[in-house]
Amino acid sequence: MVIDMHVHPAFYGEICTPEKVKEHKKIGGYDLMGPFPKEETCIQMDHFGVDRLVLLPLDVSAHEGGHLVTNEEIRALMDLEPERFWGFASVDPDSPDALEVLDYAFKNLGLMGLKLNPSKQAFYPADPKMDAIYKKCIQYNKPILFHAGMSWEPGTLMKYSVPLNFEEVAVKYPQLRICLAHFGWPFAVDTAALCLKYPNVYTDTSAMYMDSPEKFMDYIFNQAWGPLWFQNNFAKQVMFGSNNPRFRTARVKRGLDSIEMRDDVREKLMGGNALRFLGMED
């Protein structure tokens, strides 16, 4: 099974009013992008051999007064295509009702994990105010996908999301599965070190900020990392993710397809590791 772990459905036509499009562009820094029908996504998935998309919302209600897709919209999209779309929740840690929103998202909406962006939501991952949220995720056995490294979104500072900021969380909550998305780029070596040391730390491939898909993935897998680092050290901790619509699912997949690796490792990268991260496999 091929699973894209990192998709922002900011322009899925079924949830996009003109006001929503404007809000999503402003929050996400997407500018010239525009809505498209779900049918387009389904045709892409079938043609490029992608079985599931994990859809991510982002709650910035306390900081920016809005959302880059709400938890309820994620649930609605999942219901439209239950065989294709899986979904996460998001809460703004500074919202007074963050814990109630998260509980509702897990218990009532059936969302599969939590998406947080420390840079956009302006918090340090090891801040004690986050403990209750982490404990709620452990209570429901749900993973957290953190933005890590540079974020293009406006109003984001990298200081909140450098990979080393997550080390205390990994140590304090070894039963909590956390993903430092985007390879933590440009701090990909730091991310590798955390994956090596902590089995509950994952990363995803949702970065393609420079060059062609082939060149960028070659840079990560063969230059920033040694050619065997991933295969021989943390093969169970890197997941295919695109950051669509910023980077197209098919293009990131094309870049990964160009990297030499063993077949069993590629299966883990493209879907097996996501199933374990999501708690669906041991």
């Binding site: 498209f36 043609h47 293009w152 910023r246 098919a250």
Partner: protein, 142 residues
Amino acid sequence: MVEMTSFEIISRKEFDLVRITDRVREFAENSGVKNGLVYVITNHTTTGVFVNESLECLETDIENFLGDLIPTVKDYAHNHFLPSYGATGNNCPGHLKSLVVGNHSVIPIKDGKMFGGAAQEIYFAEFDGIQLRKVQIVVMGE
């Protein structure tokens, strides 16, 4: 007089040739223009519109020709982050194929009928699929 319309296509492949002659003919021949021209124009910069013979072998040759001329993987200057989109521009081959093919085709209208050659098929060409696309038809004449 000038009559205009547009229609949408969701391409099915990254490189996709879609035959659109019947849609153009229907609009052109119901436009009320007896003698003039029909223009078929794409709204996009990584697509094209062209006329050729509708044979699968030729469609394969056209795809291979453009692919040989403009390889998918190359160090294009366009392979960089575009702040205006918030995305990396990795679709230079689509832009260059669009440049080669062109954005429109023109067919004469005579006595209220499209007056093209018997072998002529109008194609919408997708070079950066899979995407929702828009094509315009403009009929000018009297």
